[in-house]
């Protein structure tokens, strides 16, 4: 968002204080009045439909004021796939205030409120969450998020699409604690090399990290089928029929694609978010949250295990209107309540104000979500090819301090410099060996050295981009698979990395990562909302930051020794 020129004329004298306030970064952010007729409204609009449902002969024939002959394709898909026909009339008869209280009250179990949710229509769900303030929404997220243990996701990208940089930053991100890593490209044809960098670097940092490369659907699936990536996320869905069609998809094409991924044993989640429809110019006069709830139910109906939501790349839109960030928290709540894995946003540059960036983050970080960021920029924002993130590498220490201050697990930890340098160096050397064996343009010792100590893409020697692109093409033409990379790593002295990578590939045989909110521990134990189901039931229950993990999070870059105030704890 760009700010417009301030209104004050030159002739009007302003106070010194006003001058200071005018200069504050928050005043570079964009704010706009609501315009409900066009859908430029977060979650409270007179133009949203009233909740209703009617079942005839085992089929929903009326949904939120429309009869079946008036249904658009979202209504049809939601009515036929998402909503539980047997329970919907009873569920809809439950007063909204009762349901909102169930979401907050720890004495109502997650299972009960999830079961009730299966019978609700989009307008009813909106009616419920409209009753909740932001603290109540966080209470709801704490109870309804599907996995017990929170986690986090990082971006590892490069403004120069430098695969060595992506590998080194992936290794650092993995050792810092991220469970998933995502990359994308400036020049799409670089994808195979960058995706290899992400995968190999990730497995150097911490075995079992899952990686993905955001591309158009067909290429993304291709890289997944070859075993170069482990999961997919950028499968976009929209809340109005017109925008969905503009995106060249339908709920049926996306449901088919969801099954295609699962049929290859590849984890996948959809992506949606408030503001996308109004940004794409056809919100059909509905509020952002109402349309997002339709997306959430469409995803549930398709049987995909999870959803990335929380406005995502459209955060400037809800961020500009009153109550917008409350609506973003509410969409994360609804995704969790609908029993989907929720990768909860905090992933796009949002504000010029550090204070506002932090406040936008707390509704996900404090209650914990399946992935607090989706993702956190594991590179400086100027190298972030997803147009920047709400958090980047400069914020690592702040994040760790906030975790320690609040005794909250945001998925990261402080890591000693020597460990970070070691994994960055090893990731770069592993890439050097792979490139040599694959006859790709050589990675020099100078580049390995640069990767070890670098911050951004500026700190690396430039590569011959044309030669790299030729190499990337040959990787695809030769049909290089993940298994080929495993073999090379094994024979070039990176046996532990090869073993980690092979262990990730083995997961697709078991299909364990297809279950809701599945991630892998460092010991390759799949952790999903089955064997690690959220059991929050009020104070003293659920995930508590304690024991070894809490000891780990007490460590920071600088902590003074209690015994000797002249020393720092290492």
């Amino acid at each position: 968002m760009t700010a417009v020129a301030p209104r004050s004329g030159a002739s009007v004298q302003t106070s010194k204080r006003t001058e200071i306030l005018e200069a504050r970064p928050v005043n570079l952010d964009g704010f706009v009045e609501e315009w409900p007729e066009k859908g430029l409204v977060a979650m409270e609009s007179d133009y949203d439909p009233q909740p209703s449902v009617r079942v005839e002969d085992g089929r929903i024939v009326e949904l939120d004021g429309r009869t079946r002959d008036q249904f658009d394709f979202m209504d049809t898909f939601i009515a036929d796939h998402a909503i539980d026909v047997d329970t919907c009339e009873d569920a809809m008869a439950t007063p909204s205030v009762e349901i909102a209280r169930m979401l907050v009250d720890p004495r109502t179990s997650r299972a009960d409120v999830v079961a009730l949710g299966r019978g609700l229509t989009p307008a009813k769900i909106l009616d419920v969450v409209k009753l909740m303030n932001v603290v109540e929404i966080m209470m709801g997220i704490q109870k309804t998020r599907s996995r017990r243990t929170p986690a986090n996701q990082a971006h590892s990208t490069s403004a120069k699409d430098n695969p060595i940089q992506v590998a080194a930053d992936a290794a650092e991100a993995a050792v810092r604690g991220f469970a998933e890593l995502e990359t994308t490209l400036g020049v799409v044809r670089y994808a195979p090399l960058v995706a290899i960098g992400l995968q190999v670097g990730g497995q150097v940092g911490r075995g079992g990290v899952l990686t993905q490369c955001a591309l158009e659907e067909a290429t993304e699936l291709d890289l997944g089928m070859r075993g170069i990536t482990a999961y997919a996320e950028t499968i976009s869905i929209y809340g109005t029929e017109s925008v969905f069609v503009d995106g060249d998809d339908t709920p049926w094409s996306k449901a088919f694609l969801a099954s295609a991924y699962a049929s290859r044993g590849i984890k996948m989640r959809f992506t949606s978010g408030t503001g996308s429809e109004v940004q794409m110019g056809n919100a059909e006069g509905r509020s952002m949250l109402y349309l997002e709830i339709r997306c959430i139910l469409m995803a549930k109906g398709a049987g995909v295990q999870g959803l990335q939501n929380g406005s995502i790349s459209c955060i400037g839109v809800p961020g500009a209107v009153p109550g917008g960030i409350r609506a973003v928290a509410a969409e994360n709540l609804v995704a969790s309540w609908m029993d989907l894995e929720c990768a909860s946003g905090n992933d796009q540059s949002f504000s010029h104000s550090a204070m506002r960036r932090t406040s936008r983050l707390l509704p996900q970080m404090l209650p914990g979500t399946d992935f607090v960021c989706s993702g956190y920029s594991g590179v400086p924002n100027k190298d972030n090819m997803f147009a920047g993130s709400n958090l980047d590498t400069e914020d690592y220490d702040d994040w760790n301090v906030i975790q320690r201050d609040m005794q909250v697990d945001g998925g990261l930890r402080h890591v000693r410099e020597d460990v970070i340098l070691q994994v960055r160096n090893k990731a770069a050397r592993a890439m050097q060996a792979l490139f040599a064996e694959l006859d790709l343009p050589a990675i020099t010792d100078e580049e390995v050295e640069a990767a070890t100590y670098a911050d951004s893409s500026d700190d690396y020697p430039d590569r011959d981009a044309l030669a790299d692109l030729e190499g990337a093409r040959s990787v695809m033409d030769r049909g290089i698979t993940g298994l080929d990379l495993v073999k090379i790593l094994e024979r070039t002295g990176f046996g532990d990395v090869a073993e980690n990578y092979l262990n990730v590939l083995r997961q697709r045989v078991s299909g364990d990562l297809l279950q809701t909110a599945a991630v892998l521990t460092g010991d390759f134990v799949p952790l999903a909302a089955i064997n690690d189901a959220n059991d929050y039931a009020g104070p003293g229950t659920g995930y508590r930051l304690s024991g070894e993990r809490w000891e780990e999070l007490k460590k920071l870059r600088h902590v003074t020794s209690a015994e000797n105030p002249e020393e720092e704890v290492v």
Binding site: V114, F256, S259, A260, L483, V509, S510, G511
Partner: protein
């Protein structure tokens, strides 16, 4: 195999029920070792999920109340038989105004008859019906 009773306690199958798992070429999960990879005994073809495994995962999903995820696993089990290129071609054919009613019916028949994929065929037929009502079919040739 198809009658195996599963509960949430069986998850993760790779750890709790590895005896139920096999690769498309009939190897056990424990056979996927680095030695076997290096010797070429294990190939990329082994690193795929089987329809049986997808059915098992679908059953686990249903045992914890995730009906739609279970259905997705069933569709996926059917799709394991379809070659990669054709899966992508079918996906593209389901995009708005990409196919006529007859073309979608052809895909549905192929799913049903060639690939024994009745659940997937049902999804395509359902799409054809909705696309007809919403003006999302391609013009007939």
């Amino acid at each position: 195999m198809t009658s195996t009773e599963l509960t949430p306690a069986d998850y993760p199958l790779s750890i709790n029920r590895p005896e139920l798992l096999h690769t498309p070429t009939g190897k056990a999960l424990a056979d996927i070792t680095m030695d076997a990879v290096v010797s070429g005994e294990v190939t990329n073809e082994d690193l795929r999920v089987t329809p049986d495994t997808l059915v098992l995962q679908g059953r686990i999903a249903e045992s914890v109340g995730r009906r739609q995820l279970g259905e997705n696993c069933r569709r996926a089990a059917e799709m394991t038989a379809i070659p990669d290129d054709e899966v992508l071609a079918m996906y593209n054919a389901l995009r708005p105004r990409a196919s006529s009613a007859a073309q979608l019916e052809e895909i549905a028949s192929r799913l049903e008859n060639t690939f024994s994929a009745p659940t997937c065929a049902g999804l395509v037929r359902e799409a054809a019906e909705v696309y007809a009502a919403r003006n999302l079919l391609a013009e007939e040739d």
